[in-house]
């Protein structure tokens, strides 16, 4: 009796051992190389709000025009984690779209400079180079020492989103200045609706508004200084004033306290259901909420208001994008870059804007935007320039402190003055840190070109940069 039990257990154990050892092979992604005489190229794509169908179509497109290449494109929400061991082992894919610490990779020479590629002709646009077909942000965002290491491909602009019907019904108008915004919020509050919803559990959502206000109050120079964590700037007057303004929205309960406990989906749901009039967000909003937005909802976008008496341009718009890059240690980096050039063709860009209702970093791709995107595109087009925050990516430790302060300021746990002092200390620590604990990141200023252009603008205000 006992023996048979023993044998049964042993048998089970052996069986399990077999089952276990059998699939002991690694993840099933084909790595690049050659197969059937074709060059096998691997592309790793982030699977998020934009899904992967669009990128897959691009891959198939490339295979048609380049029959000697087979593209293996795979997507995953956590592809960044899957790629980490690949980078360490030295066999990364040929083209990557993932939220990796790009600046660390750049500093470690893991990203191929794309300058030569950018000089090649743009796909489907004879007479233009790839570089010329892109909006400047696409190649300035991730450049260093004059070289471009990654390209921003899909991107978003930030502003307040609202429902046209609601505003029409109450006769409300999008505000032009900050004071107008406060007055509008008061009106909305009187009407019994939450003026502004907020993704309180992720206080970083306030950064786009905050940085825009810094730009509005102190001018683009002030904003650039904050990005470079220059001494003294984080507690300077424009910055503290920006914290004050942002906190004002909470103090007056224009962003009611309850929102501090809601996630992005929950607060956005409140907005969709009409319980809140406005919400600060990027152009991915409509895609993210597509399953809950009723058909009658008339999506509206208003850029963040200007600040009367401020030094900065009232039309400048804050943007942020997601990047693609080619790893230097890829087996076919040239083909990887080539695929990227194909992905960023004008036709593809136009299709992306229509299908995904989001922005793409190719010029003129959004000449005919879908309804939900119309006003955002108009705002982006009429903006004098776009600016995109990098400080948290360049300086992760400072970035944590920054995120922290967003939370504290919005929960009314910190005064603007305290916020300024705190971040100034964090900036100082980060500056010191770079010498002892970071081996790279010389003080970058990839915006030199944009900055110079802005300087030039001062004499000729009619010229529009970027479009």
């Amino acid at each position: 009796m006992r023996a048979s039990v023993t044998y049964r257990i042993l048998g089970l154990a052996l069986g399990l051992a077999g089952l276990v050892l059998l699939p002991a092979c690694e993840g099933t992604q084909n790595q690049s190389g050659t197969a059937n005489g074709k060059k096998l190229v691997e592309v790793s794509v982030f699977q998020g709000g934009y899904d992967i169908d669009f990128w897959e179509a691009c891959a198939r497109q490339y295979e048609e025009t380049h029959p000697e290449v087979k593209v293996n494109l795979w997507g995953d929400p956590r592809n960044a984690e899957k790629l980490r061991p690949r980078f360490i082992a030295g066999n990364p894919p040929d083209l990557v779209y993932a939220s990796l610490p790009i600046w660390i990779l750049i500093a470690a020479d893991q990203c191929l400079p794309l300058d030569e590629e950018l000089a090649k002709p743009a796909v489907g646009q004879p007479g233009k180079t790839w570089k010329e077909s892109l909006i400047p942000s696409a190649y300035t965002d991730f450049s260093q020492d004059g070289h471009t290491y990654a390209l921003t491909v899909p991107y978003a602009v930030f502003g307040f989103w609202y429902d046209h019907r609601l505003f029409r019904a109450h006769g409300w108008q999008p505000p032009e200045t900050w004071d107008d915004l406060l007055a509008l919020c008061e009106q909305i509050k009187q009407a019994g609706i939450d003026p502004i919803a907020f993704q309180g559990r992720y206080p970083g959502y306030i950064q786009s508004l905050f940085e825009t206000l810094v730009e509005r109050t102190g001018g683009i120079e002030a904003w650039l200084a904050t990005q470079n964590i220059e001494p003294g700037v984080w507690k300077s007057e424009p910055v503290v004033r920006a914290w004050e303004m942002v906190q004002e929205l909470r103090r007056r309960e224009y962003i009611p306290k309850a929102y501090m406990g809601l996630s992005h989906m929950e607060s956005q749901m409140e907005w969709v259901q009409g319980k809140a009039a406005m919400i600060p967000c990027g152009t991915w909003l409509t895609t993210e909420m597509k399953s809950s937005l009723p058909k009658e909802f008339e999506v509206g976008f208003m850029p963040y208001p200007g600040v009367s008496g401020g030094k900065g341009d009232p039309t400048a718009i804050n943007a942020g994008g997601e990047y693609w890059f080619v790893p230097t240690k890829a087996r076919h980096p040239d083909i990887g870059a080539d695929i990227l050039r194909q992905v960023m063709s004008l036709d593809n860009a136009r299709r992306f804007v229509q299908d995904k209702k989001a922005l793409f970093a190719v010029r003129n791709c959004d000449d005919n935007p879908p309804a939900a995107l119309k006003e955002a595109v108009a705002a982006a087009h009429s903006a004098r320039f776009m600016f995109s925050s990098h400080v948290s990516q360049w300086y992760p430790t400072f970035g944590s402190a920054y995120n922290e302060v967003c939370g504290s300021v919005m929960s009314l746990d910190m005064t603007p003055q305290e916020a300024g002092d705190y971040l100034e200390r964090a900036a100082a620590a980060q500056r010191r840190d770079r010498r002892t604990r970071r081996h790279e990141m010389p003080n970058p200023d990839p915006f030199a070109a944009a900055y110079a252009a802005v300087e030039a603008l001062k004499d000729d205000p009619v010229v529009i940069v970027g479009w």
Binding site: P77, R78, K82, M265, M269
Partner: protein, 287 residues
């Protein structure tokens, strides 16, 4: 002989009543969230958002949540993965620990204490300490993203606690049995296999329950070491369900997923819980 007081005084009754009441109240506190979870898992997700009050009964049983979690959320696959990994780890850890504990609990030799402390020290290691080095170790051994890799890690991590309990257990077994068997001509191994091991059953079951719960529900290591979605264990699948954009508004499916993860653990616990007391009495509470 005067009249005898019949029964305990009133104050005793009241005390007894209050005592019982406190038990019932806490039972409610324990059970209510689980009932709520169960109710929510059969509710349509939209209801969860719109019903302001958490007390209403669902309009009708929406069992599709379970179907969604099982098929679209791929819980069927994850379930199998969890079973394989848990079973594999349990077998390995029980085998290795039982053998080691037998020696450490019954054999007297100079290195006995030091070796025991060597193992016990492992209980103080925070899980995060070894996380990064283990990651690169697995990478080098090509065991990243495999069942075997995860099993080995879970086994290693469970060894200290298991050895701790089983050593205590084995040390209480009477040595007369050993001597008697030796006289009868049993080999050392036979003594272990035929006599001591069966006696250790309560301890083994106790330790298995705790190890099962720990491994079945483990999340951090699985998160770091398994990136292939086909190999995900249930806690990972659950987390994926919670953060995946598609299911952000489908809370019903999320709750159904939670119930799916919970049920096997509940079953295992229910089947084996009566051995817990005995196992603990002789194992953990000694020395």
């Amino acid at each position: 002989m005067g009249p005898v007081k019949s029964g305990p005084p009133l104050s005793q009754h009241i005390k007894g009543f209050l005592l019982y009441l406190s038990l019932v109240v806490y039972l409610a506190v324990v059970v209510y969230p689980m009932v709520w979870l169960l109710l929510s898992s059969v509710r349509k997700s939209e209801e969860l958002f719109t019903s302001e009050s958490p007390w209403t009964l669902p309009k009708h049983l929406y069992l599709q949540n379970f179907g969604k979690a099982w098929r679209e959320g791929r819980f069927s696959g994850y379930f199998l993965n969890s079973v394989l990994v848990t079973a594999g780890s349990l077998i390995l850890v029980t085998a290795a620990a039982t053998m080691a504990a037998y020696v450490l609990g019954r054999f007297r030799f100079r290195l006995n204490r030091p070796i025991l402390f060597y193992f016990l020290a492992g209980m103080t290691f925070p899980a995060q300490l070894a996380l990064i080095p283990l990651f690169f170790l697995m990478l080098r051994l090509h065991l990243l993203n495999t069942y075997l890799g995860l099993i080995l890690i879970y086994t290693g991590a469970s060894l200290p606690f298991t050895i701790f309990v089983l050593t205590g257990f084995f040390s209480t077994l009477p040595s007369e049995l050993h001597d008697a068997a030796a006289i009868d001509g049993c080999s050392e191994f036979a003594v272990f296999w035929r006599i001591m091991l069966p006696l250790a059953r309560p301890g083994l079951i106790t330790v298995t329950i705790f190890n099962f719960l720990g491994i079945w529900n483990e999340y951090l290591y699985a998160l770091v070491f398994i990136t292939d979605e086909n190999l995900r264990t249930l806690p990972l699948g659950l987390a994926n369900l919670a953060i995946n954009k598609q299911y952000d508004t489908d809370l019903g499916a999320l709750f159904a997923g939670v119930v799916i993860v919970m049920v096997p653990a509940l079953i295992v616990y229910n089947l084996l819980q009566r051995y817990l007391t005995q196992g603990l009495q002789t194992g953990a509470l000694k020395g």
